[in-house]
Structures are given as structure tokens and as C-alpha cells.
């Protein structure tokens, strides 16, 4: 299990390749890769800067991965999140999950992203033609995370 918060870019192929360290019982690898879009809901975006809470960031990502490991049978997980200034098409975040079976890998990868979006202390500030502005949190992200609470109770 690996959690990284960094300014540098990363190589998605390397992340997949390194997952599970070549163990031969992995059957399914699901990855999520998040990219900077050149448009947001309110218009064009030239760049964005990601701020975070050093220390808490790593701790919260590790807690999310640990919770995923308690819910599904996972063989390895890598989470990488970049901070600092990024431009459209730049990579922001990657979550890679290895499991024996695809159902576990899909669920855990989506769970980690939904929780990261609502519980990990990152904040985006967009640069637009009208100036800089902090991105507003979306209620749809809260709903996405809440789905997993319901499943826990079910």
C-alpha cells in the first residue's frame, strides 16, 4: 500500500506495473486517473493550483485506503495526488487497486475516489479569464460518498 502527495508528475504505466510487485495471484487492476479539464461548470480554465494540509493529507488518504481494505479483499493499493500549479490535461490524481476479482477492485477504487473527494484536505483554485477563484465543493460529491454509508448499513 502506497500513498504519495507530490508536486512532480507520475507515470500511470509505472504505477500499474509496480502494483502488487508482480505477485501472480492478482486478477484485476482497476485504476482511476483524474486530469485537469480546460473547462469548469462556470467557464474556461487556464490553470489551477492545488493547496493541501501537509501531514493530514497523507494521514487521511491512508485512513481511506485502510477502510477500503476492511470492506473488500484487496491485494495492493496506490494513491498519488499532486499539489501545486497544474494546467489542462495535466494529471492530478491516480488511484490503482489490485484484487483477485474485478468486483472488489471496481468498488474499492470508486470508494477511495468518493471519500478522497469529500474527506482529504485538498483545495483547488482555478485561474480563469476573469481571475482566480476557489472551486466550490459539489453536493454531488457528498451524495457519491454517502452511497457507501448506506451500503455499510445494508
Amino acid at each position: 500500500m502506497q500513498v504519495r502527495v507530490q508536486t512532480e508528475d507520475f507515470d500511470p504505466g509505472d504505477v500499474i506495473h509496480d502494483l502488487g510487485n508482480g505477485r501472480p495471484d492478482m486478477g484485476a487492476i482497476v485504476t482511476f486517473l483524474g486530469l485537469v479539464r480546460d473547462m469548469s461548470s462556470t467557464g474556461a480554465v487556464h490553470a489551477m493550483t492545488l493547496e493541501h494540509y501537509p501531514g493530514m493529507t497523507e494521514q487521511s488518504l491512508e485512513a481511506i485506503v485502510t477502510e477500503a481494505g476492511g470492506r473488500w479483499a484487496l491485494q495492493d493499493v496506490t494513491v498519488i495526488h499532486r499539489v501545486g500549479r497544474l494546467e489542462p490535461a495535466d494529471r492530478i490524481v491516480m488511484v490503482a487497486v489490485a484484487s483477485a476479482h474485478r468486483g472488489d477492485a471496481f468498488a474499492a477504487c470508486e470508494f477511495i475516489m468518493d471519500y478522497l473527494k469529500t474527506r482529504a484536505p485538498f483545495w483547488k483554485k482555478e485561474e480563469t479569464p476573469e481571475g482566480s477563484r476557489w472551486v466550490e465543493a459539489r453536493d454531488s460529491d457528498d451524495s457519491a460518498a454517502a452511497r457507501w454509508e448506506d451500503r455499510e448499513q445494508a
Binding site: S60, V93, P121
Partner: protein, 83 residues
């Protein structure tokens, strides 16, 4: 006690962190917010309910009734938007 501010809240209060010594009646996050706001602007404005300020105590997400002690690191910030 160390108080940290992030993102738009950091800009609103004009500082990244401050060391504070709240009065003895301040036992929870909610009471700390009230005490910080009693000092007037910029804190009174930054902590309006409409801002939906979130809080972490010792780097773990907290709620208004989460207890705090003098040794804690308490952070305030807007709803997160990473990923």
C-alpha cells in the same frame, strides 16, 4: 493551541496560522469557533454559518462537538475539492 487556516479561509483571515489561548470554558470545536469570532473581524466574518467551514482536530476531520484541549492542533478550512 495552534490554529491553522487553509484555502479561502486562510485568505479571509489573512494568516496561515496563529497561536491562541482560549478561555477555560472552550472545550469543543464549536466553542472554539465562537471564541475566535468574538475577537471581531476578520474571524467573525470568516466563520459565518453560510461558509460551511470544516474543521480537523489533530489532523482528523472533526465536528462542532469534537472535544479539544490546549495541546491540540485545530485547522479550519472550506469543504475540500481535491481529486
Amino acid at each position: 493551541m495552534k490554529v491553522l487556516y487553509f484555502a479561502s479561509l486562510r485568505e479571509a483571515v489573512g494568516m496561515e496560522s496563529e497561536d491562541v489561548e482560549p478561555t477555560a470554558e472552550v472545550h469543543t470545536v464549536g466553542e472554539l469557533v465562537e471564541w475566535l469570532a468574538t475577537r471581531g473581524e476578520p474571524w467573525s466574518d470568516a466563520f459565518t454559518a453560510s461558509n460551511r467551514v470544516q474543521c480537523a482536530v489533530n489532523q482528523v476531520m472533526a465536528r462542532p462537538d469534537t472535544p479539544i484541549s490546549g495541546a491540540d492542533e485545530v485547522a479550519f478550512f472550506p469543504r475540500v475539492t481535491g481529486g
